[in-house]
Amino acid sequence: MNIAAACLFLACILGLAAEAAAADTSFARVERGRYLVTAGDCVACHTASGGKPFAGGRPIQTPFGTIFSANITPDRETGIGAWTDEEFYNALHSGVAPSGAHLYPAFPYPYFAKVTREDVQAIRAYLGTLDPVKSTPPPPDLAWPLGHRFLMSGWNGLFFDQGTFQPTAGKSDEWNRGAYLVQGLGHCGACHTPKNFAGGDETDQALQGGLVQGWFAPDITNAQRTGIGSWSADDLVEYLETGRNKHSGATGLMAEVVADSTSGLSKQDLHAIAVYLKGQEGRQAENTDPPPQKVMAAGKAIYSDSCSGCHQMNGKGVPGMFSPLAGSASAQSNDPTTLVRIVLQGTRTVPTDTRPTPATMPAYGWKLTDGQIAAVLTFVRNEWGNAAEPVEAGDVESVRRALRSSSRTAK
């Protein structure tokens, strides 16, 4: 081998090494990061209403006060541009910022801890491609003593089970992929798992439905009446992809999740999520006594006047437009908060490219009394083979009051 050949050889090796290093920002890696950021629905919390994407500042209401999301654009001063990859990994995995400050679990790091290092690095690579935005979110507005972040270390000790996702042996690859997405980036339990007194997950009731920002995020286990037991895996895929299926349409916070996240996921991943969720047994609804005949009769009359034009007298609705109520899990959910809220405020099913029609239910809060709404919901929850606890006028009143006070604080 002469010197020239040796030099060429060396150059080739160096060239390969340079290429390997450059792979950190390769298209494939950034694109993988973009997909994972979609799966994590990062944009939803990290974008203020009318603000620049990922620049943070969106108020997140928790039972303990309001937290404002962080700026995760690569701005070096106000965003995460100055963070090292390791610092970013630690924030996602341990809920600790580079300053050493503990993050609040409104940032769902207990879920993100499950995400593999490789995926975290891809997310970091993608976020690095965003336009840096100079923007500092307002400080959190929390009840004493929760303003003291160091307290979070105690919380972490109690409720945070750190550790990357480990596949469950004996389950299919697809089930495990679904588990990874649901338990990790998808952070489905952040809304759908009930919380204990301190805001930690009630892990023995995982995915059985939880209260979040004035909505009841429904039971998404395979429970027959109150969960997704009557949905096929394909029904779930269709719902997550298009915002609609024959059973339901995505509204409220889930509308954002579909628009910003699940509608951008691959069919394979959505199917994996469906397989995993269908595999969660959940808790079967208890039998309830039929409500008084008088309440049912009043509810039926109101239903006939105000609801049947869209939902039809037989409760079957117009699939893809107006949700069926007969057999509906939302209608029979243990906690009627979402039902009451939808009747009071109205709602809109999220439009997507595949299902662009923004099917909408108008508000009835101005038109029906608490007692009338209670009666019609009790009827809906107990007609056509449905069965669930009656709704009381007081339930309606408390949702009405909560909505009124939240609209005041939002101003």
Partner: protein, 586 residues
């Protein structure tokens, strides 16, 4: 001084049916499209929620969806020897304002014109001899067969409920046997039929006619159109015409196109922006921009490569006259084209009173009815009748709105206890047969600028000079007599035939089917646009809507407006964009 804005590919004046179609098609073709609408944004859930959409006082009597005459109106006279006066209250017709235009408040009666309607002069002259000198009736320059695919496209966009009468030349039992051949059936089956129209159908059959369910833009079932937009089944609430539909059950731009269009990044809508004029370059052969004014009185100049006039028929013509585009029509010399061939429709009705039959008028939908077409267009021999043209007869169950509907027999006082008694007795038990007649175009029916009265912007108002001709009265009386015969065959207690007598009046509501003024045709001396709705004089200017009808036919115009729009935009995509310039050589 108007502020000049960055240019767009396409500017649309008005944002109703035709603009929504053009915008959807041309944004899909990759062009940047801007729509300028003088009225407000409207969508189904916010503006027509089912909790208040059926407010008769607000929508019918306070005219919530219509143009306010205090802001914009026209002057009217019957003949050239009179002085026109401003119409200060809407009456005879109801131009809309706001996003969706009249497509929001129509009934949804959606028809195709007959093949002979498009060749009204040549066909009638071949069969009956030369038309009177006073008639300016002319062929359209496009045939039914050429429009058929575009009729089909509009019907499938809207999800029309109906029963085909002629598929590829094969007559279909139960449909309208007189319609032109269609490629396929309607996308949805007919609406569920109610009692009154069913009685009419039996009587029509008994008297030798072929009744059929009228084609309706009210959904007989849930329907997802080719754009992916879903409509819901009609609940037969009876609040269609003059109202918006809260149930997503009546086709409108909002329920068929806007959910898709508004998601497109290359589409922009500016509401409450009223276009004042179209500007041309010094040659006068190229439209360069439109000037519009916003609610704060600021003027803007919006340049565009192509401009489409998509406002209401009369407004398109008004804008052309104000912009000095095209030669204004002069009824004395017969020369000029802008304002020429204005036409309308002539309607009458026969009330059919029963004692023993409960009609329940409130179970209604705008297009819910049974019709017969024996007396439309040239479906019958006009020999010896002294008129050309015709219309359909139909028994509709559109509504039983309590403030609007008070059927009373002839001779009932207009108020007082006798009137109340008659209303109470007849409200539930009366059916009505309507006739919907064509109006031909005449030398002396036209639109021009009023010499005296001006609008809020200081521009001359549009002046309408119009009256029914003898042809129309003879035709309408003929239709009313046929309706009365069928009414009698329904075996009622009594009937009340209400013929349309005397001069045209702008006061009582008749129909919003105003046509003409920028007619289409084959000759630039008698038409303003060619068969592709492209101006002969200014090839980057297009006029959509019924202002291009050379005369009117005996049907509601929306289906034909939709078909012409799709045909025009197809030509723009396939011919004009490849080689911008005149698509037809005069």
């Amino acid at each position: 001084m108007a502020k000049k804005l960055p240019a767009v590919d396409v500017a649309l004046v008005g944002f109703g049916w035709t603009a929504a179609i053009v915008a959807e098609e041309l944004t899909a073709a990759g062009l940047d499209v801007l729509a300028l609408e003088r009225g407000a944004w409207r969508d189904t859930p916010t503006d027509f929620a089912v909790t208040f959409a059926q407010d008769e006082l607000r929508y019918m009597w306070r005219r919530s969806l219509f143009q306010e005459p205090a802001r914009q109106t026209l002057t009217f006279r019957n003949s050239m020897d009179q002085t026109a006066l401003p119409m200060r209250h809407l009456g005879s017709f109801l131009p809309a304002t706001g996003v969706g235009g009249a497509g929001i408040h129509w009934n949804g009666q959606n028809w195709r014109f007959l093949p002979t309607d498009f060749v009204a002069r040549s066909h009638n002259e071949a069969r009956y001899g030369t038309l009177p000198e006073s008639m300016t009736v002319q062929d359209w320059g496009v045939t039914y067969d050429e429009l058929e695919p575009y009729y089909d496209k509009f019907e499938y966009l809207c999800g029309i409920s109906g029963k085909a009468g002629n598929i590829k030349g094969r007559i279909q039992d139960g449909g309208n046997p007189f319609e032109g051949p269609r490629a396929r059936d309607y996308p949805n089956p007919p609406l569920d039929m109610v009692y009154g129209p069913t009685l009419f159908a039996a009587a029509a059959r008994e008297t030798g006619h072929k009744p059929f369910p009228c084609p309706a833009a009210n959904m007989s079932r849930a329907y997802t159109n080719p754009l992916g937009v879903t409509l819901a089944p009609c609940s037969y609430c009876g609040f269609c015409e003059k109202f918006g539909c809260g149930n997503y059950s009546k086709s409108s731009p909002q329920t068929t196109i806007l959910p898709v269009l508004m998601r497109r990044n290359n589409f922009e809508l500016r509401t409450q922006c009223e276009v004042l004029r179209v500007n041309c370059d010094s040659s006068g052969k190229r439209a360069t921009s439109v000037t519009y004014i916003d609610t704060e009185g600021r003027e803007f100049e919006q340049p565009a490569e192509m401009i489409f006039l998509c406002a209401f028929a009369q407004h398109n013509v008004h804008l052309l006259l104000l912009s000095g585009i095209g030669k204004p029509y002069d009824p004395k010399s017969g020369e000029g084209v802008v304002g020429r061939n204005y036409a309308y429709q002539i309607v009458s009705s026969v009330d059919v009173f029963f004692d023993d039959k409960i009609i329940n008028p409130f179970v209604g939908a705008g297009g819910l009815g049974v019709g017969i077409d024996e007396y439309n267009g040239d479906n019958f021999d006009h020999g010896g009748l002294g008129f050309i043209g015709g219309g359909y007869l139909a028994c509709w169950n559109t509504h039983g709105r309590p403030i609007e509907l008070h059927p009373t027999p002839k001779g009932t006082p207009k108020w007082g206890s006798k009137w109340k008694e008659a209303v109470a007795r007849n409200y539930l038990t009366t059916a009505t047969i309507s006739t919907h007649g064509a109006v031909m175009s005449y030398r002396t029916n036209y639109l021009d600028l009023d010499p005296t009265y001006r609008d809020a912007h200081g521009r001359p108002l549009l002046r309408l000079t119009f009256d029914f001709g003898d042809n129309e009265h003879r035709m309408s009386d003929y239709l009313t007599d046929r309706a009365a015969e069928i009414a009698k065959a329904m075996k009622p207690r009594e009937i009340h035939a209400k013929k349309r007598n005397g001069h045209y009046s702008v006061v009582p509501y008749q129909t919003t089917h105003n046509t003409g003024g920028a007619a289409m045709g084959t000759d630039p001396r008698t038409s303003f646009v060619n068969r592709y709705l492209q101006s002969w004089d200014v090839p980057n200017l297009f006029v959509m809507g019924s202002s291009v009808f050379p005369q009117n036919a005996g049907y509601n115009p929306t289906g034909t407006i939709g078909a012409l729009t799709y045909a025009a935009v197809d030509a723009v995509k396939n011919i004009y964009l490849k080689n911008p310039g005149p698509m037809v050589q005069a």
